[in-house]
Amino acid sequence: MRKGQIIFLLFSISFILFGLNLLLGPVTIPARTLFSLIKGSVVDDLSRNILLQIRFPQSVTAILAGAGLATAGLLMQTLFRNPLAGPDVLGITSGASLGVAVITMFTGAWIVYMPQLGVLSLILSAMAGAMVVMLTILALSQRIKDNAMLLITGLMMGYISSAVVGVLTVYSSAENLQAFTLWGLGTFSSVSWDRMNYFAGVTIIALFMAMLLPKPLNMLLMGERYASNLGLRVERSRFIVLFCAGLLTAVVTAFCGPIAFIGVATPHITRLAIGGSDHRILLPANMLIGASVALLCNLIARMPGVEGALPINAVTSLMGAPIVIWVVLTRHKRKYL
């Protein structure tokens, strides 16, 4: 299949899942209501509010978060040439969480909800935490050539971050603790329209940045020596890739809380679907597949048939962990990474 056709197919899948996320939910809303709303006709308040104020922003958040995390994962897997690299596995998400924890200690937990200045501080602190971990991992990767060892180091970074958060919580007030705990559950429903500007803005800019990187990424895939021989300024490119991945992880984590597995698992789905490693098609396809995965998980989390809802991390873990295990089992047969 040609590149254009693949992208079109993936886009259609995402679109369908988006539609399903609008249509399906704990409260039954008939399809024609949705269509009426789209057409601009008058629709009952309940349906209108549920669709526009709850399901729509939640779906948009899922799309952006899924695309963002999947891209961060792909970037990291290429950068570290490690099939199990990902924002959560390498401790980047924990670093971002630590950043959020620190800022909530100082400003109070409501920063998690505040627009404008609060949002900026939130993103910056998550960024700071993510980048600290990311840079540490990068520095360590110079010395640790073994992929498995690097992953373990990443896990340890995650543990360290979590431990520091634990210590902070001992000294925090009860309301900060509760708000931070809530945030730590991870959800796509935390971004309502008034904060969507910031979330969507930063995420889209970062995704756009990533889309400019297929050439350096392809070269990095060959290894640093070959990449440099082909004219790539390796140190600079590594930093840019790192920055982009860190930014994506930070912004998604800051708004949605830590979301597991989408970063690690999606690039493998993409590579299987595309059957190649050329980042010119891998990047956009991966974004679309990441969005689809997030939408699918959101759908499952919200529709257990009863009135409750599953935590989103439970669904992403159930989906993602088997994929990671499969990646480990097939590592000898795998033709990439």
């Binding site: 070269m219 020596r225 070959y226 021989n229 082909l230 390796v234 590579r271 033709k335 990439y336």
Partner: protein
């Protein structure tokens, strides 16, 4: 000087470490001309890889300078260097789900735009590189489906597509079988001669070096580097001295190194040509020293014809006739030294 693609002045190579420099070799004055295939050889740990990496720009020049296309390597940026030098390294490819064409087209990256899109020109050059390395039939196959030799050729094709005047290859024949090795060296020689490239190769394969290299650079720890035409260096005894080791002998006739074995008996061989050479080989392996003199106690005569016989004579009265080297060896081992058989040598 001006026709040199690459030359060094007083070059010192090595590594920078925390407590100063570690220099492996100093005062190197080397040159690579267009149309030349140069092989670098030396024992392990000699500094071959370090030299290569320095000339390719991967590690820093420690002393002196190296000039590529007349420009100091210290001043060249990655982009500029990518247009002058292409490399094939020993690193294993992690990505095997590229097709041959995709891999080779990566060689065009120094010339492509921001997203790495290939122009028609780039496509043509890619296809030409694939053809030059004889991989046309494989161009749409995934790398995972190729043999080692074919993969190596694909890497060379990629370096070719990069259209640089200098190609540097680190042990390109290391894991190949004999026909594979010959193929690669022949290809490199062809590229040097017909595309006017300067090709620098490190290798352990003395046989192919003697056959295909225009120049040989010998490098060893603690010794000054020696450069010259392979035959000169052989006849001047440099090859032997660079690889000298206890119990290793160099045979100047064949250009081969051999183990220096103890022998129990001297044997006089009468016979000529190929068969005589290989009888000697078998005898040496089993502890018999071939002797030109008639004075040796045991003689072996090789009869001419389509089915040669090996006639052992010597200290015993009777002669033993054998029809294969295997049976000859067997008889020889049980042969009583007293018996002698006289043969005459024709060499």
């Amino acid at each position: 000087m001006s026709t040199n693609l690459l030359y060094t002045t007083d070059l010192g190579i090595g590594y920078s470490e925390k407590n100063g420099q570690k220099l492996l070799h100093r005062h190197l004055n080397l040159a690579l001309k267009p149309g030349e295939l140069i092989c670098t050889m030396g024992p392990n740990g000699a500094g071959k890889s370090t030299l290569l990496k320095t000339l390719a720009g991967f590690i820093a020049v420690q002393e002196g300078d190296a000039f590529i296309h007349g420009r100091s390597i210290r001043s060249l940026k990655e982009k500029e260097l990518s247009l002058m030098v292409s490399v094939v390294l020993t690193e294993k490819l992690t990505i095997e789900d590229f097709t041959v064409r995709q891999l080779v087209s990566l060689g065009r990256y120094p010339y492509t735009g921001f997203f790495g899109r290939l122009s028609d020109e780039d496509q043509k050059i890619t296809d030409q590189a694939i053809a030059d390395t004889g991989l046309e039939l494989f161009s749409d196959r995934k790398l995972s489906q190729l043999s080692d030799g074919e993969k190596q050729k694909a890497m060379i094709a990629k370096a070719l597509a990069q259209e640089t005047s200098i190609m540097i290859l680190d042990e390109p024949t290391a894991f190949l079988d004999l026909p594979g090795r010959i193929e690669i060296m022949r290809l490199l020689r062809h590229l040097a001669a017909h595309k006017n490239k300067g090709i620098l190769v490190t290798t352990h394969d003395l046989e192919q070096t003697l056959r295909f290299a225009d120049k040989l650079w010998l490098i060893a720890q603690g010794k000054e580097m020696v450069c010259g035409t392979p035959e000169d260096l052989l006849l001047q005894g440099y090859i032997e001295s660079f690889f000298a080791r206890e119990g290793i002998l160099f045979d100047s006739h064949t250009g081969c190194f051999r183990a220096d074995e103890d022998y129990s008996e001297r044997v006089h061989i009468i016979g000529k040509g190929i068969t005589s050479y290989w009888v000697k080989n078998a005898l040496e392996r089993n502890g018999f020293k071939p002797d030109k003199n008639n004075s040796a106690d045991i003689h072996i005569e090789i009869t001419t014809g389509d089915d040669p016989e090996y006639i052992i004579s010597g200290t015993r009265d009777n002669e033993v006739r054998t029809t294969s080297i295997e049976s000859m060896l067997h008889e020889l081992k049980t042969y009583n030294v007293e018996k002698q058989i006289y043969t005459s040598t024709l060499e």
